[in-house]
Amino acid sequence: MLAGMEQIREGDACEEASAAWRVAAAAPGGDRGAEAELYRRMAPRVRRYGLRHLRDGHAANDLMQLVMVRVLEQLREGKVREPQRIVSFVFGTCRMVLLELQRGEAQRERLLEQWGDVLTVADISVGPRLDHARVADCLRRLAERERSVIVLSFYEERTAADVASMLGTTAGNVRVIRHRGLARLRSCVDGGLQ
């Protein structure tokens, strides 16, 4: 299922590559439009990476800004050898900055002071936020076992193995119940209360 992911979406990646080429080809800071385009496309994805690995919105925002500043800096200075592989370069930068943040080494203030103007050039959209009263209403419509698994999984963000040990069942069973419960919950939240 995961095999071959690197090869897909080549057409779409062209947009990022094109923006990266333009930033690299211009005099430093000479193509603000390309910088804004690259930021607009990549920053929400980097923020998602931050959310997954740091589990905190503020920390994810910090990581997003640090990564994007560093990527733009490297492009401006001509240090990105293959701008057409900008997604891979961003990924490597994400991993590096994540480690620095976890070690408390990232120098956020200095970078933001130097690059604050770039970081404000493009608005980015963050993920949706649901009405929790509606989610509660939909949760109440689930079977007890589904509701239990969904709450235990997402309230503490626990793996199927963890939830299984709490409920005296197997991880496989939890995954089956979670799959069914999530489908019903999404359908209720998306399609109106039934």
Partner: protein, 189 residues
């Protein structure tokens, strides 16, 4: 402009596993890299994140209750939530209420669960109200109790009333009562 399309989308279950930390290091790396190049799959992950966030806020607001398992209530206390807890012996009753500062109300029903494969929970409401049966509730046979979180915000709005519950053991040969439990709720009236 056409919306971007992913030619090899990641399945929703995989994204859930990714978000909850169930993939191994290599699987996580592959999904990380895919998401950095793919907005459609990123949007799907955003849905998972939003649903998880909605579940968390719904539960934390006391709008929804559920049966929970070992260790969960202890961790709620460690997170600083204010808990009110009632333990009811088999065929017993308890006087109960909810305070304005309580975040979570926990009910513990003591029951002999050894050898039981399926438990149903029947709630017998006020006169005239139908029974509500929750089938096949989760439980840990070794714990000797069924633990559930009562939605505190909803309970706070209730008048004084008596709620009766019955646990039933269910198997291929039929069903038998495990225990009856009575909650004498002191409400806001």
């Amino acid at each position: 402009m056409n919306a971007p399309v992913c030619l090899q989308p990641i399945e929703l279950d995989t994204l859930v596993e990714y978000w909850l930390g169930e993939l191994d290091e290599e699987g996580t790396r592959r999904v990380d890299e895919h998401l950095l190049g793919c907005d459609p799959c990123g949007a799907k992950l955003d849905e998972v994140i939003a649903l998880g966030d909605g579940v968390r806020r719904a539960f934390a607001s006391g709008l929804v209750g559920t049966v929970v398992g070992a260790g969960f209530t202890e961790r709620l206390a460690q997170r600083g939530l204010r808990l009110r807890e009632y333990r009811v012996e088999r065929n017993g009753s308890v006087e109960c209420s909810v305070g304005p500062d309580d975040d979570v109300v926990i009910s513990r029903l003591s029951a002999p669960l050894s050898g039981v494969s399926r438990v149903d929970l029947v709630r017998i409401g006020m006169p005239g109200e139908p029974e509500v049966r929750a089938e096949d509730i989760p439980f840990d046979p070794a714990s000797g109790e069924v633990v559930f979180i009562v939605p505190a915000a909803r309970l706070r709005e209730m008048p004084s009333y008596v709620e009766r519950m019955r646990l039933l053991a269910v198997d291929a040969s039929g069903e038998r009562p495990i225990g009856d439990y009575t909650f004498n709720h002191q409400g806001r009236d």
